[in-house]
Amino acid sequence: MRRSLVQSGPPMKLAVIGGGPSALYVTSRLLSLLKNEPNIRVHVYDRLWSPYGLVRYGVAPDHPEVKNCTHKFDETAKDPRFRFFGNIEVVPTPPFGSIPRLPSTRLGHAVQLPVSSILPYYTHLLLSTGCTLPTLHPTILPSALCIPALSLVHWYTSHPSNPPTPPLHQKPHVSIIGAGNVSLDVARILLTPPSLLSGYDLPRHVLEVLNRSTVKHVSILARRGPLEAAFTAKELREMMNIPGTSMKHIPSDLLAPPPDVKVTRQQSRILQLLQKGSKEKYGTTEKTWSVDFFRSPTQLSSAAGETKGDLPLTLTLSHTALDPTTHASVPTGITSQLHTSLVVTSLGFQADPSSTPFYDPQLRRFRTLPGGRVVENQDGRVIKNVYGSGWAAGGAKGVLASTMMDAYNVAETMVEDLVASDATDSVASPSSYIGVQNGGVERGEEDSEKRDILEIMNPSASLYSLPPEIASALPERKVVEFKDWKKVDGEEVKRGQESGKERERMGWEEVKDFLGLKPAWK
């Protein structure tokens, strides 16, 4: 069954589901590794109409330098072997996931493309679908006055899901549950004087709401201590430096590490920052913030009779301690109450079971081996030429640099497998399964043995054909291709320049008119 890559058809025609940083870093590395190979095609599908995923719809507006990575993605997109199809929502089809879709995650205007329509047209598949759903608090559920941080992020980035405008008027006290960088991003946007944000990529309608905001204090609630906090020094330092804002002093006993604990460089720098406190002194500023360590909210009540006007909500906080062996937070039995006006839950993100083929309900994402090879749920067979990368494969953690390194690792595995299949027509040499990485699945020794292989892709897919849904949606002008996106990109920057800012974002309705698109109304 040996086949020659050059003589008997395409060595690789890859469909990528998701057009975020992981997908585009894999693509970039792959096309650069295979730069002399003409018989390669990479087709990136995104349910959103624009590329870049979280770089566009997640990175905080006042961190424009992080978005410089899009220059590299734009270089990649110039490769004639690359195509981007935006506004295409890939829908799992049995037997690759039959969980009903959650209505809240649908984007009504996207063209629906069943996975079963992709498989016959591609030799390879990469799943980079990310973690698009917020992890919710088990007892404190979303409501008008309890908002997942992701909704706020989607609001200030004009995400196509169109979340409601957060109620920031008559809300002097905001409580954020969770102590990661997203918590600090939200806190920073709420506390920074809007005049300092106006030059950034922040939509006009968002700035208007921030201008009217009455938020005076942001309380960040962490169920564990400063050594376990997920935020990083850069974001914490930014909080310390917000003009007109100060941090409430943290009791020094909380900032002394236990004597037997060896702190890392990062931990000790975070402790130093917390010890040093904010640039402006607490009590001298109009706005303030606090981090309350070892506080785990258990209940949110809105008994109007007990609380006063601006603070209609009461959070019950369980005081916690760290279990010395498991490092989990455990309740001490003590509780207290926190009166607040608005609650934001910022507890991480997870993959959407209804947008991720091969989803494993136990892992809450799909199962991968080191290097990103996807494994079938039921019997652990390797799915030949199917890979996963980024948050969808490894969970929602890490910064852009870690996403990039993971993506390069996956791209290199794909090329190795391609070369190995050229020689032996097998997925890969057994030695390449050694090690434990992605997905938190510790398989150890088991993976040094060759696994059974499930083949679902089409090894002789034509380089030039497209799934029928795409072939018909293209002439009907329902698809946003990369050149379309670059037109929008240019227009957004131009509109921004007119009002002295980085860019003025366009929403779907404007984009549709600007490009002359016809949405696939469902």
Binding site: K35, E65, N68, A401, E416
Partner: protein, 154 residues
């Protein structure tokens, strides 16, 4: 053709970083006339030579790497918002440099394979006294994961 190109992939531990070329941004810095510049020796994580280059004073290591097709990323393009241009310097040269600023240290916190003499390449400007410095690229992801996650020395 493809197989010949990727012979280096036959071995899992091949020097990936040395054998690959990324899209680079040439022309951002000038190369000095041969024999007149400061010499830098780029090495991979195992200490193998990648390339020796001659550079001008004032250029930074990230721009130099891009100019010479050395596989050092600069995701944020030198604005100290990522750790992708992390390099490791010999202690005797590290001590010649000004201390890293807070923002650089914040990013180094998150660098893979951090050492006591790690710097962000974009923040190291070349001076005459750095002549003949070895610039070591940290271990690639792959090696990090295969060896286990504990290879960082901090």
């Amino acid at each position: 053709m493809l197989s010949t190109c990727f012979l280096s992939f036959a071995s899992r531990n091949s020097q990936l970083t040395g054998s690959l070329t990324l899209v680079s941004r040439h022309g951002e810095i000038q190369r000095p006339k041969p024999g007149t510049g400061v010499k830098l020796h780029f090495k991979d994580s195992k200490g193998n030579d990648i390339k020796t280059v001659e550079v001008n004073e004032g250029d930074d290591i990230l721009s130099i790497a891009h100019e010479h097709d050395i596989d050092l990323e600069g995701a944020c393009e030198g604005s100290v918002a990522c750790s992708t241009c992390h390099v490791i310097l010999p202690p005797e040269y590290y001590d010649l440099l000004p201390e890293p600023e807070d923002d650089e240290n914040d990013m180094l916190d998150m660098a893979f394979g951090l050492t006591d003499t790690s710097r962000l390449g974009c923040q190291v400007k070349i001076t005459k006294e750095l002549d003949n410095m070895a610039v070591t690229l940290p271990a690639a992801t792959r090696n990090m994961f295969v060896d286990g996650e504990g290879t960082s020395s901090h």
